[in-house]
Structures are given as C-alpha cells and as structure tokens.
C-alpha cells in the first residue's frame, strides 16, 4: 500500500494474540485504520474489541505480532522514539503517582520530555485545573484525574493526540468543555484520535470514525457516510385519523410500497421521494399529519455493526460481537 502523504496514522493488517489460560486470544486480527491530518477521528468498539490493544501497540507499550503501523510518516515501532515527542496520549484510566501534586506530575513529565516548564501552567489552565495545581493527585476525583491526563497529553503540544475515553468520569459541563476543547485543538491543526463509548458525543465531535469488532475493522469513513450506508431509508407516516391507518396501508401497499403498520403510525420503506406518499394518500382523502424520514444514529449503527444490540431476556458476553469478513 502506498502511504498517503496526508495520513497522520496508518495501520495495516495489525495482529496481536494474547496467551491466556483458556488458550490464545486474538485481540487484533488484521486490523486496518487510517487517520488523515486535522481530523477528529472516532475510534469505536465494544469492550474487548481491541481498541486499547491497538492504542497500546501504537505507543510501544506492547509488541504487535504482525502488520504495519505508520505515525506521521514514520514506521513504528522502529521510529517511535523519533515521533513520540509529537504524539500525546492517554490510554485507559488516568495513571499518576497519587502523592505528587498536579503541578509536580506535569513538571516531571516536562523534564522527562525536555520541554519548557512554562507549559505546565498552560496545560493546567487549558483543562481547568489551575486552582487545584498544588493538590495531591490522590485527592482528585476521577473527572479531575481525567483532566490532568488530558493536560499531560497536551504538554507536548502534539501533532497527533490520542485520547482513550477522555470523557470518562466528567460531569455534563466537563463533557461539553472537553468537546469544545477538541474542536479548538482540531481547528488549530492538531489531529485527534478519540476512543469513547459516548457515541452521541462522537457523532457530534468527530469527522470520521473507525469501528472495530473482534479485532477487525467493521466500518470506517466520514461519520455521515457511515450513517448513510447503514440508514434504513424508512419514513414514519402518521395520518390525521388513526382509524384511516389500515386504509392508508392498503393504498401504499397497492402502489408497491413496503409498509409496516404500528399502533399510531406506519413505517414505510423503499420510497425514493417521501412526497409521493402524501400525494398517494391525499388522492384518497387521507391527510398526512407527520412524514419523517427515519435517520440512523451512530449508536444504532454501532450496535448493528458490532452485533451488540441488547435483546430482552438475553445476557450478552463481552466477546459476543459480530465477526465481519470485510469492512
């Protein structure tokens, strides 16, 4: 594959198998991913799908069994020491030494990365921790630790920012602040890879997504395209008098349109122009009170693609995801 010059992150055929007591467990099974410069890229997958393994492999914390990775045009893991200064990352839960203050924690990282100490105050200000900078990390709530983790990732002023569940533990205000910060960082030219289970946030924040299930990519591309590709094309139709619903269903069915009747509305599919529904029904003096195209949201697409839609009365194991043969 010829590397794309605008790609900040490229992963091809990444494989990783863990040895476990119950036998080898394949965490990554030829996973592919591509992130373009300047994107806010959502990285989604159910628990145990391989997200964190991918990020840990990228950061050199574990070794892949096969496949290729390139970050900022450099081959990993060989060139990791060269590019690590331009990659800010938090992986899994925030991990800091509890007895140090927030300022000490960042200051030591600045020293380790040979960065100016002035960035400590800047990063703390950015995540709203300036006033608690002299408190020990062990006194912080999960949300505050999360903010500190983001601050530590931002210290490098990286070109690529990898955030694993950055909104974990944040209050609604904090989630919104985080979202706005992502937008600001992206606008400044930073590429952000964001792993999260808050799919509504991903849908708002991200330009592109990659969805992983059982170690394989099951969907990738701009959010709008992924949603469109999995849209049902259904239209919800309600009429003025509920008693007219059976007649309306017959009219549409006779016109060759697929109809499903519910208690107070019809679900119509296979219609190119929803206006034709109004016209057909109006000819029989049945007047439409609601005509709404049903659009897919990221959550439903995610649940469908990964096969993790809850079924009443059934319990799902973390590994009960869908195995997809091609993305």
């Amino acid at each position: 594959m010829v590397p794309d010059m605008t790609s900040v992150l490229e992963i091809n055929g990444l494989r990783k198998t863990y040895r476990a007591r119950g036998g080898p467990r394949r965490a990554l099974d030829g996973f592919d991913m591509q992130v373009e410069a300047g994107q806010v890229h959502g990285f989604l997958g159910p628990n145990g799908s391989g997200k964190t393994t991918t990020l840990r492999t990228l950061l050199g914390l574990i070794r892949a069994d096969g496949g290729r990775m390139r970050v900022l045009g450099q081959e990993l893991p060989k060139a990791l020491p060269k590019v690590v200064g331009q990659v800010g990352a938090i992986v899994e839960s925030p991990q800091f030494f509890g007895s140090f203050t927030a300022r000490d924690t960042l200051s030591l990282l600045c020293d380790a990365g040979n960065l100016p100490q002035a960035r400590v105050g800047w990063a703390l200000e950015l995540v709203g921790l300036s006033e608690r900078s002299k408190d020990r990390v062990k006194t912080f709530s999960l949300g505050m630790k999360q903010r500190l983790a983001v601050a530590s990732a931002l210290l490098k002023q990286p070109r690529l920012l990898i955030l694993d569940e950055p909104a974990n533990g944040l209050d609604p205000g904090g989630i919104r602040e985080m979202r706005e910060m992502m937008a600001r960082l992206s606008a400044s030219g930073m590429t952000v890879v964001l792993s999260s289970h808050i799919l509504s946030e991903i849908q708002i924040i991200c330009d592109n997504v990659t969805i992983i299930s059982l170690g394989k990519r099951v969907a990738a591309g701009p959010v709008s395209e992924v949603l469109a590709a999995h849209s049902t094309g259904q239209v919800k139709v309600a009429v003025e008098a509920v008693t007219d619903l059976p007649t309306a269903a017959n009219v549409l069915a006779n016109a060759g349109i697929s109809v499903q009747q519910d208690a107070d509305h019809l679900m119509v599919s296979g219609v190119d122009k929803p206006a034709s529904i109004s016209r057909l029904l109006a000819e029989r003096q049945i007047y439409v009170s609601e005509l709404t195209p049903v659009s897919a949201d990221l959550e439903s697409v995610f649940l469908e693609l990964t096969g993790t839609m809850p079924v009443p009365g059934q319990h799902r194991s973390v590994d009960d995801s869908v195995k997809v043969t091609q993305a």
Binding site: R63, V84, V91, F96, S107, L108, L109, D111, A112, S152
Partner: protein
C-alpha cells in the same frame, strides 16, 4: 540528560524515600546519643578511682580466702588463691569510646542499617511507579523501556552513593566527636584510617548492592510488595528455615551457607566459624570465610543470573514471556544457583549448560 533530571527530582520528591532517610538518620542519632551518654573520658581521677576499687576488691577476696584457710567451710571448697592480676584497674574503669577499637562496629551498624533502607528505597522507587501506572505513563513519553529503567537505576545508585558518602562522613564526625569528648583517638595511625576508610567503602558497596537488589526485584514483579515479600521469604525460609535444615542434616560448618555471615565477612574482611558436628573427641579446625570469597559469591550469582536471562536454552520459554510470567522460575533458579555455587564453588553450570 532530561530524563536523568526528571528522575533526580522524582527521587527527592518521594515522601517515602524522604521519610525512610529521616528514620535512618534518626536511628543513627539515637545510637550516637546512647553511646555518647553511656561513655566518659578516662581522666587520671577516674583511673585512680578504678585502681582504688581494684585494690579494694582484691583485698576483699583475699580476706575471704584467708578466712577459708583458717576455718574451711563448705562454701570454701575449691576456692583458688586470688592473684593480683585478676583485679586490674581497667576492669573497673567507666565505659569509654576507643575509636581505634570500637569504630568498626559502628561503621558496620551504619552499613547494615543503610543497606536495609536502601533495599526499601530501591524497591519503592520503581515499584510504586509500576503500581500506580505512572511508569506506563512515562513510557508514552520515553518509549525505550530499558533506557528508562537504566536511568532510574543509575539515579538511584547515584543518590544512594551521595546519601552513603554524606552519612558516612557525618557518622565518622560524630564518632570522632564522641571519642574526643568521651573516649580516645589514640593509635589512629594513617594505616588505621586507611583500614577504616576501606571498611566504609565495602559498606557503601553493600548498600548499593542492596539498593539495586530491591530495585531489580520490584522491577520484575512491578510492585514494591514483591521485593519486600522476597526479602521476608529469604529471611524466613533462607535463614531460619535453612539453619534448621542444615542443623537437622548435621551439615559441617553450616554458617557458611547463611547470608548474614557473608555480610559480616564482607564488612570485617573475615569471619571464623566452627563446626558443631565434628566427630566427638576431635577438635575440628575453624573455617575462615573471607570477604573476597563472599564478594565472589555475590558477583557469581549476579553473573549467572545475567547469563540465565541472556542465553537461550532448549526448552526454555521465550524471553518476552519469561520476563513477565516466570517469577517462580527466577526465584527457584536463583536459589538453586546460589546453593549450587556454594556447594560446587566452581561457578560453572551443570552438564547441559543450563540450570533451567
């Protein structure tokens, strides 16, 4: 250099390390104070008083002996005639601190205490980082793991050298002060000072070795608890348990297999041990454990362990797995190697090339 700077700062910011050093200095101060307040300088008046007391004691015992001669009682049976040399003035002198005779014991106390604390400091310096996850965070900044661990170890040993040198200097100054005020500095020739300095250097080497040992164990287990657990295991099983087994098996010169005797030999240059299981009626010769022998065993274990880690053997598990999942093997192999080295004294692995 930036990582060295960061680790240097991290070391002195760690509260546990600071408190450990404070406790160590507190213990030395307590020992020094006890010595100071229980000794006094030998003045002519004190010497005269001691002489007078020695004379009185001699006279009292001689009177009793003469009474026995005149009218023997049951109590007098077997009473020897008191000799004048049995009642010397020195025996009645107040405790005093003779630097030449006594300082080595206090340097050994300094070295053993600091070695113990260095083990804890070494284990804590890296173990707490692993446990809290701060190490993984650091590795996302400096991905060369061995470089990070190597730098941490170097910084640890550097700081321990500084702490060792400074406390050795202060301890020496305190002992000189005690000797000057409540004892004597007599016979401290250049040679005596040189010997004293070399004892200090051997002590410093032991301190660094214990620091590195704590660091290494905590690195393998990624937890300070593992290092402390191994230390406890060695004390309980390796010392008390081994002592019991050796005595039950009536092994000759059992002390040669016990670590404290080798530590003592390292510090005092030699230790003489007897054989409690020599044949009845035969006076068994004593055995000398020299500091060279003890040091060689320590170095041999380190060299063997290094070779064990780096030499692939048939049937051995692959290095990436071994590094994380074979603590039991490491511990068992270390124990086997130690015993093997001591027994064979050859330093060579058994047939097959591997101890695994």
């Amino acid at each position: 250099m930036s990582l060295v700077r960061a680790e240097r700062r991290r070391f002195i910011k760690r509260r546990m390390i600071v408190w450990t050093l404070v406790i160590f200095v507190g213990l030395l101060t307590t020992i020094g104070s006890i010595v100071f307040f229980t000794t006094e300088k030998v003045t002519p008046a004190a010497r005269a008083a001691a002489q007078a007391q020695a004379d009185r004691e001699y006279q009292r015992v001689m009177d009793e002996y003469q009474r026995c001669q005149e009218s023997p009682t049951e109590r007098c049976q077997g009473m020897p005639e008191p000799q004048r040399e049995w009642f010397q003035a020195e025996y009645f002198m107040p405790p005093t601190f003779n630097f030449r005779n006594d300082a080595d014991d206090f340097i050994i106390a300094w070295a053993i205490l600091l070695a113990m604390f260095s083990f804890i400091i070494g284990a804590s310096f890296v173990g707490a980082e692993w446990r809290s996850g701060a190490m993984m965070n650091l590795l996302t900044w400096r991905p060369k793991r061995m470089q990070v661990l190597g730098t941490k170890l170097s910084v640890l040993l550097g700081w321990l050298t500084v702490v060792g040198a400074v406390t050795f200097g202060l301890w020496t100054a305190a002992l000189v002060g005690i000797a000057s005020a409540h004892g004597t500095m007599e016979r401290m020739t250049n040679g005596a000072w040189q010997s004293y300095g070399l004892t200090g250097l051997r002590g410093l080497a032991m301190i660094l070795a214990f620091g590195a040992l704590g660091f290494g164990l905590a690195s393998i287990g990624r937890h300070i608890g593992l290092a402390l657990g191994v230390a406890l295991g060695v004390i309980i099983l390796g010392q008390f348990g081994l002592t019991l087994v050796l005595r039950m098996a009536e092994v000759h010169y059992p002390e040669q297999y016990l670590i404290p005797y080798h530590m003592q030999a390292w510090m005092e240059k030699r230790v003489e041990i007897g054989d409690p299981f020599a044949a009845p009626g035969i006076e068994a010769p004593t055995k000398i454990i020299s500091f060279g022998e003890s040091g060689s065993i320590g170095l041999g274990v380190v060299a063997w362990y290094w070779r064990w880690r780096s030499t692939p053997c048939a049937g051995a598990i692959s290095p990436p797995r071994r590094s994380r999942h074979s603590l039991g093997r490491v511990a068992a192999a270390c124990a086997a190697a130690t015993v093997g080295l001591w027994l064979t004294r050859s330093g060579r692995p058994p047939a097959g090339g591997c101890w695994r």
